[in-house]
């Protein structure tokens, strides 16, 4: 169920260039159903900036009623959020959208998790859930440069983890698909989140595999009412469009036209 919750900030720290990890506590956490869901945060009580910010959930712990968010403090809204102090409260709406289902992989299989930049965080909880049920996870994480890399150790603790940077300043040079072309991974299902060109490249490269893609789109309401975040579908007439916020953000490969 979607709830509006004032959540307290338990911790906040910068983990890479402009990348903030923030842990929030509140009973909204009990409503989270799957990795890859997101929350919509109002960063101020005034009307400047006006709209909420959609931020993905990197991990959650229902026992502690805590969730970890990782976001890029790039625009004014996310910078205001990043500047908040421990114990401050923020207005959070969520959990929103439909995330990844760990049920798409079974014990003994290998899952390929491909993340790009700020698309990496939602894969962390997914990897935790997959590995917990005995699925072997291989992580290919793409960033712009070494300064942008985060959560390498956290992912490495769960399975093989490759870092790929566009400028080669950390890990392998190139894009995530270059790394996979050089050193293929034998897997059953892929899960990916990141910039649309990366999603497109991944879907093209693994067109014969079962895959799940998490999309980003500029949003208004975050709950499916405003129709700002629609994407055209490949299936056409029967379902001409989907809404990223409420139908997604995660879709099976082949649904969204990219």
């Amino acid at each position: 169920m979607i709830v509006q919750n004032r959540m307290a900030i338990c911790s906040t720290r910068q983990i890479a260039d402009n990348i903030i990890e923030m842990v929030l506590t509140g009973n909204l956490v009990n409503e989270i159903a799957s990795p890859g869901q997101f929350v919509h945060i109002r960063v101020t009580d005034t009307f400047e900036p006006l709209l909420r910010r959609p931020i993905s959930i990197a991990s959650f712990d229902k026992v502690k009623e805590q969730m970890t968010l990782i976001f890029r403090a790039e625009g004014r809204g996310t910078q205001l959020l990043a500047a908040k102090q421990i114990d401050a409260e923020v207005d959070v709406l969520g959990p929103l959208g439909n995330g990844f289902s760990a049920d798409n992989s079974v014990k003994g299989e290998t899952a390929l998790l491909i993340g790009g930049g700020i698309g990496v965080p939602p894969l962390y909880q997914l990897s935790k859930e997959l590995t917990a049920k005995g699925v072997k996870c291989v992580h290919i994480l793409g960033f712009q440069s070494a300064a942008a890399v985060f959560y390498e150790e956290e992912f490495a603790a769960l399975g093989e983890t490759r870092i790929v940077t566009a400028d080669g300043s950390a890990g392998e040079q190139g894009f995530v698909t270059d790394s996979l072309a050089r050193n293929p991974v034998d897997f059953t299902t892929y899960y990916t989140c990141g910039p649309t060109p990366m999603l497109h490249a991944v879907q093209q490269a693994f067109h014969d595999k079962q895959g799940f893609l998490s999309f980003e789109q500029r949003m208004g309401c975050g709950i499916g009412a405003c129709f700002a975040c629609v994407c055209e579908t490949q299936t056409g007439q029967d379902m001409p469009y989907v809404k990223v916020c409420s139908d997604g953000p995660v879709f099976p490969a082949g649904v969204v036209a990219i």
Binding site: Q4, F47, L50, R218, G220, C226
Partner: protein, 304 residues
């Protein structure tokens, strides 16, 4: 006695608060968050004869205390709105105002005739002011003659009262208001969004794929108040005011300017519970102002 009750053509409102068309979908999503029967009414998303996909993305951009949008009247089309959306909404005890849009007069007429017969549609809102579609929309809303002709054509076929939604993107909004009143409009809803633009500072290009978008949110409220004030002095039909309503104080402002009820738009995106919160806050505000009923507020600014 219900201190918040307001009577309008076709609408016995338990309170004067309703979500504005385009900012509430067809109520499904908000219906998962709270009981829709708390609302005075619901103005559902624009309905066109055929399914409409709308404009390319990005469709929204934030501005200072406001938002630009160019959704482009995306909706599943008349048939599905009738069979799916209105049927689902029938489970809620709330009057529906159906927003009717089209590309040409015949489209509007066909949609209006059919949708006005839906058992839970209490009034129509004629959308002659959407700034984000090439055909129809604002073309009708900026020419008094066209606006009047369309209003008459729709009035002939509609079985429920017809409200006309006015555009602020004109030099004299009272001319359009008087024209639609003369053509038989039962009421006016105003204002639709103001045409605006935001450029990307890196590329210099518009942020919204459509180029321009409709500006809404708190930034437009002074314009809306001024226009409601002017139109309420110029016509004798009631006005449902909107444009930047975010709290109960804004409701007081719109009613004082001459509106009889108020629609809440963009604020639903900022706080999805804003409509019930405003409704619950109104009685205390009336006490504070020393008023018995909310209708005492209507048009206070015109008193001499």
């Amino acid at each position: 006695m219900n201190r918040l009750a307001v009577e309008l053509p076709g609408l016995s409102l338990k309170n004067p608060i309703m979500p504005a068309s385009g900012c509430f979908g067809f109520g499904k999503e908000f219906g998962n968050l709270y009981d829709l029967s708390q609302l005075g009414a619901i103005m559902i998303k624009a309905t066109t004869l055929e399914t409409r996909f709308g404009n390319p993305t990005p469709r929204v951009a934030e501005t200072a205390a406001g938002m630009l949008n160019a959704i482009g009247l995306q909706n599943p089309g008349l048939e599905r709105v009738m069979t799916e959306e209105l049927t689902r909404l029938a489970q809620h005890d709330v009057p529906i105002i159906a927003n009717v849009a089209g590309s040409e007069t015949e489209d509007y007429v066909q949609v209006a005739e059919a949708i006005s017969k839906a058992p839970n549609v209490n009034a129509l809102e004629l959308n002659i002011s959407c700034p984000n579609v090439k055909c129809g929309g604002i073309a009708f809303g900026t020419d008094p003659n066209l606006a009047a002709e369309l209003t008459s054509a729709v009035k002939e076929v509609s079985t429920v009262p017809v409200y006309v939604k006015l555009s602020p993107n004109v030099s004299d909004i009272t001319l359009i208001a008087k024209a639609v009143e003369a053509a038989g409009a039962d009421g006016i809803t105003m204002i639709n969004t103001l045409v605006g633009m935001r450029l990307d500072r890196k590329t210099g290009k518009p942020v919204i794929a459509n180029g321009t978008g409709g500006l809404s949110g708190p930034a437009v409220k002074p314009v809306a108040i001024r226009m409601v004030y002017e139109v309420s002095k110029a016509v004798n039909i009631p006005i449902i005011g909107m444009g930047g309503v975010t709290d109960e104080g804004d409701v007081i402002d719109f009613l004082s300017a001459g509106a009889s009820a108020v629609a809440v738009g963009t604020a639903n995106f900022v706080n999805p519970f804003v409509c019930p919160e405003i409704i619950h806050a109104l009685p205390a505000l009336l006490d504070e102002l020393g008023l018995e009923t909310i209708t005492e507020l209507i048009g206070r600014s015109h008193a001499v």
